[in-house]
Symmetry: C2
Subunit: 478 residues, 2 copies
């Protein structure tokens, strides 16, 4: 069985997905019975059951007792997705450092329920397989501690990374890949290579706070374009800013933006690349969540539309198989030599052992099977978390419904301070991320981000229930 070929049950699931997408099957409509689908698709009953359970896991259909499977009604009517804040200030204000420090410290606390980190549950990781590969490498490279795989990094790992870019619609040359210490290392070095202090960088609002911090460290200015929960990066805003502002680079997260979870549609991606290329603005694409799509198709990389070679795609293994390995990459036809140089001078190289192990892991072909399992779990978790928020949060709450990734972006009722909720929740040993850290202007005061990477348990459900009560309490007092 080829790892790339869809499995039988996936083909069946896609049939149903396509019908829902086209509107042939609408909300609350009954989908074909297992038996009739088995005849239509010429597959076994158990394959259809597997397909339907998968569709249920990713939230597209639901089982109704004694009746069969139905298309899940869109929930927008009861809890709509959060609205973006539109802001175009060119004067970044420093994000409340204290809040960020408290966030960071909370991540290291073993006594709290970690709904604050954007991590996949480590229990999902292919730990046994990876550990066996480590033992293999110890046998084959007993002196690995003395070997330094200098930038651009281990050749076979670069080959594997380049190969996998095909799934994002953007096959790459292994010579264009530089191995880094995770995605943020790739983004930081890209910014160092492309910008000098005082330059202006385009970012999304909201966006991952680490990007904003690095931009601040490097003495750069930011200009923000909205990221809409349902439609992704605002193309018109990009066009306007490219027309009026001299940009040194853009840092964009078109696939499962952190925190909104949105995917920017392919047409918009093509247009954004065209607009910024015409203005000769290099794009640093943060593709860290790209592999974690709930549906069957991986969203495309901006590099798929990049004729000018100005896109640097950054990714890592941190959200998928090995957060603790600290290995990522930058893929760029134009800037790979500069980034390799920056890597050498700022931290010499990435650890040898992890590079050797990951190259073997990818080459061994188990990754796609593994990913399928993780994606199904994340999709189910995400749905369960949305359901719990709908159930337990007070009216006026809005929640995103991402089609991939590990986080949920929640807009609280007007007047509810996300930082207050963050502190109150921490006192109840529940970690969340307050919205204001996700923009340079400290917008999103009444927003929070929670993780859906952990395995769904009654404990998590109770924590969300508790959060709902805290929100209601703050709303009442406001």
């Amino acid at each position: 069985m080829s790892a790339e070929e869809p499995l039988l049950y996936e083909r069946v699931a896609r049939l149903v997905e396509a019908q829902i997408a086209s509107g042939a099957l609408r909300g609350n409509e009954r989908i074909p019975s297992v038996r009739s689908m088995s005849r239509t698709a010429k597959v076994s009953i158990s394959t259809v059951v597997q397909a339907y359970l998968h569709l249920e896991n990713i939230g597209l259909i639901e089982a109704r007792p004694q009746s069969g499977f139905y298309v899940r009604p869109p929930m927008r009517a009861t809890v709509p997705p959060p609205r973006p804040k539109v802001s175009r200030s060119r004067r970044p204000i420093s994000i409340a450092a204290e809040t960020l420090d408290t966030c960071r410290e909370a991540l290291a606390r073993p006594d709290i329920l970690q709904l604050n980190g954007a991590f996949t549950s480590p229990t999902l990781y292919p730990n046994q397989r990876l550990n066996n590969l480590i033992r293999e490498v110890l046998r084959d490279h007993p002196a690995h501690a003395g070997e330094c795989l200098l930038p651009p990094g281990h050749e076979e790992l670069r080959r594997q990374v380049a190969k996998r870019m095909t799934f994002a619609g953007a096959p790459a040359d292994p010579a264009h890949v530089v191995i880094t210490s995770g995605t943020m290392d790739a983004i930081t070095m890209s910014l160092q290579v492309l910008c000098k202090a005082g330059d202006t960088v385009l970012v999304e609002s909201p966006t991952y706070f680490g990007v904003l911090q690095v931009v601040e460290y490097l003495g750069l200015k930011v200009v923000e374009v909205p990221n809409h929960t349902s439609t992704g990066i605002d193309v018109d805003a990009v066009r306007n800013i490219a027309r009026t502002t001299r940009l040194a680079a853009a840092v964009l997260m078109p696939n499962f933006n952190n925190p909104t979870g949105s995917v920017t549609p392919d047409d918009a991606k093509r247009e954004i690349v065209a607009i910024l290329s015409a203005a000769e603005v290099p794009i640093i694409e943060d593709d860290i969540y790209g592999d974690l799509h709930y549906g069957n198709t991986r969203p495309t990389s901006l590099r798929a539309y990049d004729d000018a070679g100005l896109v640097i795609t950054c990714g890592s293994v941190s959200k998928t198989i090995a957060l603790g390995y600290r290995i990522g990459w930058a893929v760029t036809p134009q800037f790979h030599a500069d980034i390799a140089r920056a890597k050498f001078f700022s931290s010499v190289a990435c650890p040898t052992l992890q590079q050797l192990v990951l190259a073997r892991y990818y080459a061994s072909g188990g990754y796609d099977r593994y990913l399928r399992r993780v994606r199904t779990t994340l999709a189910a978790n995400s749905q369960s978390a949305v359901d719990a928020i709908v159930r337990y949060f007070p009216p006026g709450t809005r929640v995103a419904r991402p089609s991939g990734g590990i986080v949920l972006w929640i807009e609280l009722p007007a007047g509810v301070d996300g930082v207050e909720l963050f502190r109150t929740a921490l006192a109840s040993r529940i970690g969340i991320a307050p919205g204001l850290v996700f923009s340079a202007k400290a917008d999103y005061r009444n927003y929070i981000r929670i993780s859906c990477g952990m395995l769904w348990t009654p404990t998590i459900e109770r924590a969300i229930e508790k959060l709902g009560r805290l929100v209601a309490g703050i709303a009442k007092a406001a």
Copy 2:
């Protein structure tokens, strides 16, 4: 046997060392016979032999056939140490990027004799022990790939690093240690924390080219103070510059400067810290080679003289036990929280596995026994390399005689271009580092740096012979 207690043979060696240092034993003088020393020191014959072989290895004495051991004559008369270039320009000029790229690429070439890198031979590493510890950690932490040891990093490793600072005369609080991806990562982040673009940083001339590159990436200016091959950092120059120039930080390498190999004496260290502290200039101390002293005593850290808490000591395992692990640290009472924050935002964390393994390795106590063996080998290598240079290089050559570290700094006869030698040597598959990359002003045109970290073999001797012929050829043509 305590790891810290000197061994019997070391005590004997120290007796002789002290007599040479005090002048009681002079060059070419015969030292006590093995038999008489055995009686005097009340130790066995074999202990004395071990002591004398050690002293021979580190270049203090030499065996003369049929005659006994003699104090090695100072060789300054025939091949003196290189002279420093005194330069105080505040306008850094970019180091020839092409030369640096060629240097970096040469390091990755398996077909050349690597006299260019400053690495200890990996065959000296405690590989088996480290690999067994990895297997242990895999058993105890099977899910380590999912664990992230967030900055400041693994607590037990920080405790071990802090404890070892005692050997450098500067005991530290584990809370003041931040684990980093090697020494350069620690230096880079320290600079980011302390400086903003346009600020001026004090560096040595010559100094490690990586520091100059990072300074350039961060948009900083440099002002240089001489590092003298025999007396280390020029205190007067530091005083003058501190008086006239507003400095944001200093990056200093008082212990086995790369490339000169010099150690700055304790009194000078004390004075430098006092001068810079009075001017409120934080010092980033690059102590990467501190553990590799050829004699018995580790040189002190600048932190030993630091009442104001302005010194950040940076080090790593890269030169001692595990280049491929990419683990280092910054030790600082004042800036640890800022560096931990910078680490989190620029690359999140260091790999979990290596942190767990190194904590166990240091705790297990084998490191000091191991270091003793490596230091003896490096001392012997260094002496052999100096001897070969004396033998094979043309008159007009000067060579440093370091008392620790992995490199030799060589001044070629006037008019011999180190870059030309670098290129010619590369064509003969011998890697060296040209002098001009070691200063921001591209001084040191007729200097080179070679490594003495590899095990001494006839191949290396022949390579140095070849280099000598190439130097002579270039000198003739000049």
